[in-house]
């Protein structure tokens, strides 16, 4: 990556991030909460709980009346096939336009989180207020190079009573920049890699990885580097530590090529190396950019980054140029 690229990216990110915290418009549901829509939903979902459709049964329940399924929250204020208003103009539309113009024209919804303040009843009429929560730096994902955009949607009744909220995250990415020129359905459906268990002793490493920084724990007193990290320096006894950014260069000290069992999160054969860094510590990471059958002890390698998903970036090592 050239310096110019980096500068341009930084400038673009600054423009994108100017939208963070911006109100992105309000909308009102087309219809109040109603029995017909609830019925269609629970039939489609195969949910047979009578509290959603049977007034007598609902009256006997703790709710005392028919309620809407909580996860329908988003449905009550969706635009549906009406689409977007002809004259856009909302800050969200403006942000999406900027991303489109920069080539990040593909979109995929990655995840949403909802919170509910109370159950919704027939007749509740909802409106939303949307705020652009955050825009990520440029990420290299399996689907391609892109930015994650998170919006926060506050749901309230038309009388102003808050009833819930939703964080909604999408990835705007450049088509054709993913793992393969045409991302296969398989890759898109691949389950996430196992999550690292994080503690106060190791989280810095994975936080660093998200910023594409390969960090080695360093004793703040005697300077000794250690990996895997721990709370106390075995040499001098200090509990104070910081982290040194590694050069990213090393050699393959040992390696394996996994064939079985095949876990769906990975592609096989899978080369895993024990990398000895220039700084002297070793770590386990995938060996990439080389046919697994060509990996050898002593191979000179350098770090590259696997942005696996929004929550996980891992170092990998490729043959040094």
């Amino acid at each position: 990556m050239t310096t110019t690229d980096t500068d341009e990216q930084a400038a673009f990110l600054t423009k994108l991030r100017a939208f963070q915290g911006t109100e992105a418009g309000t909308e009102v549901g087309a219809d109040p909460v109603n029995q017909a829509m609830i019925r269609h939903w629970v039939e489609a979902m195969g949910d047979q709980n009578p509290v959603y459709v049977d007034p007598d049964a609902a009256a006997q329940s703790v709710h005392g009346q028919v309620i809407a399924p909580a996860v329908m929250l988003q449905a009550w204020v969706m635009r549906g096939i009406r689409g977007r208003p002809a004259q856009g103009g909302s800050p969200r539309d403006e942000l999406m336009g900027m991303l489109d113009d920069a080539g990040f024209s593909s979109v995929v919804a990655t995840n949403s989180e909802q919170e509910y303040d109370r159950m919704l009843h027939l007749g509740d009429h909802l409106r939303t207020r949307t705020v652009i929560d955050s825009v990520s730096e440029e990420k290299h994902t399996g689907l391609g190079v892109g930015h994650f955009v998170t919006t926060r949607v506050e749901y309230e009744t038309t009388e102003g009573e808050p009833v819930g909220r939703m964080l909604f995250r999408i990835l705007k990415f450049k088509p054709g920049t993913g793992r393969s020129a045409a991302p296969s359905d398989d890759a898109a459906r691949r389950p996430l890699r196992p999550r690292p268990a994080l503690t106060q002793d190791n989280a810095f490493f994975f936080d660093g990885a998200k910023q594409h920084r390969l960090l080695i724990q360093r004793c703040a007193q005697c300077g000794r580097l250690r990996h895997p990290p721990g709370p106390r320096c075995p040499r001098c006894g200090s509990y104070e530590w910081n982290a040194q950014e590694a050069s990213g260069r090393g050699t393959v000290y040992s390696f394996v090529v996994n064939h079985y069992p095949q876990v769906p999160a990975f592609e096989y054969p899978l080369a895993v190396g024990l990398i000895e860094l220039e700084e002297g510590t070793r770590l386990v990471a995938n060996v990439v950019g080389i046919d697994p059958s060509d990996v050898a002890v002593g191979l000179a390698v350098e770090v590259e980054w696997l942005d696996e998903d929004p929550d996980l970036t891992l170092p990998a090592f490729k043959p040094r140029a």
Binding site: R193, D201, P228, H259
Partner: protein, 393 residues
């Protein structure tokens, strides 16, 4: 390491018992353990009510109190569990010897049982384990996200470096498997009874994780094994000729990791096993020259080699030559795994190996070498581990 180990000749294995070894027991793990314990107690000529101590693995899922209740044991005055998977095996015997010498129990049963093939398969490793904010869970943060998930994969990293440094080959690993299967072929209790393999079979078996072929990896088994331990004094009055625990030891090495001690200056030795070896020799005054047969822990063939080196049967890096020269076969200098080992008989986390060591001293193995006076039995490798040296009274 203490230089004061006083537990020389301080315990005796007086009973052994096991279920059949299978791939689908059709019974609960608890029932397997209860059956094995009952068989071991009967073998000793004891009754369950005489047992007052129990030891097992933290990895075992059968609580000692339930085993005791099902067997009608009554009160227990000693119970203990040992961590680190197969590394615990001989540690259970050490715990029992400690207990009977301290006078906190008279007769202790050590056991391990599971449906490791028909139930939860051990070979699947740690995939799907939830990440918790504990040190034991965080350990896997350095391996699981990169796809290094199974015991075979953790061991293979070590094996690759061993091949690189010592010029050993996959065939040298294969010779361990061939010897195991040769011995299993004549042991009716072995899963691979009458199914020997050749080195060619080994080389042609598919890769599991390079440099490990399928036939470098032990089985997954259903079954249970139990052993009864008491003092040599009490052993004199029991049904079987006592098998003396000449010494028993545990060991965790410097910079020890659970299966992944990849960060030591050298990763081709097993310092934890070296520590165990030093204790056995120091306690007994014996050396490798005094040992006529051995049960060498063989969850994966590569790690049998450095074990032979750590105990001094050959020099470091020379296990390949020791093996090529036929020393580990029947009739050789040190027949190993006469029951077929865990590759050939069953994988009961090393406990069936202690039972075979007991049979070797009793002279009742199906592959009995002549003139066996001392037998070494080792436990799991690349984990904190243990071993016992068994001998005649």
């Amino acid at each position: 390491m203490s230089e004061q180990n006083r537990l020389r000749d301080a315990g005796a294995i007086v009973g052994i018992g096991a279920t059949e070894f299978s791939k689908d027991s059709g019974r609960s793990e608890m029932r397997l353990v209860v059956e094995a314990c009952e068989a071991a107690i009967t073998d000793a000529g004891l009754s369950p009510s005489q047992i007052d101590g129990m030891v097992t693995f933290t990895a075992d899922t059968n609580p000692e109190i339930e085993v005791a209740r099902n067997l009608g044991m009554g009160e227990l005055s000693f119970f203990s569990r040992i961590h680190h998977g197969g590394g615990a095996a001989c540690g259970t015997i050490q715990q029992a010897v400690l207990a009977v010498n301290a006078g906190v129990a008279d007769y202790v049963v050590a056991y391990r049982g599971f449906n490791e093939r028909s139930g939860h398969r051990f070979g699947t490793g740690v995939q799907g384990r939830p990440p918790l904010a504990t040190a034991e869970s965080a350990h896997f943060a350095w391996y699981a996200p990169f796809g290094l998930l199974t015991p075979a994969q953790w061991v293979a990293m070590f094996a690759q470096r061993y091949l690189h440094e010592y010029g050993a080959t996959s065939e040298d690993f294969g010779r361990i498997a061939v010897a195991d299967r040769k011995h299993a072929a004549t042991n009716p209790k072995a899963w691979f009874y009458e199914q020997p393999i050749t080195l060619e079979d080994h080389q042609n078996s598919r890769w599991i994780v390079e440099p490990l072929h399928l036939l470098d990896c032990c089985q997954e088994s259903d079954g249970a094994q139990a052993l009864v331990v008491t003092t040599p004094e009490r052993a004199k009055d029991l049904a079987q000729p006592p098998v003396i625990v000449k010494a028993a030891a545990q060991g965790a090495g410097e910079n020890q990791d659970m299966m992944t001690s990849y960060y030591r200056d050298s990763i081709t030795g097993l310092p934890e096993m070296g520590l165990v070896a030093r204790q056995l020799w120091n306690t007994t005054g014996l050396t490798s020259d005094d040992v006529q047969a051995a049960i060498i822990y063989d969850h994966f063939t590569p790690l049998a080699l450095p074990q032979l080196e750590e105990f001094g049967f050959c020099a470091r890096g020379e296990a390949k030559d020791f093996i090529r020269d036929g020393n580990i076969e029947l009739g050789g200098r040190l027949p190993i795994n006469t029951n077929g080992g865990q590759l050939g008989e069953a994988y009961i986390h090393g406990m069936n190996g202690i039972a075979e060591g007991t049979r070797l001293v009793r002279h009742t193995s199906t592959n009995q070498p002549e003139n066996v006076e001392h037998v070494l039995v080792t436990a799991g490798t690349m984990v904190p581990t243990s071993a016992v040296l068994l001998g005649v009274a």
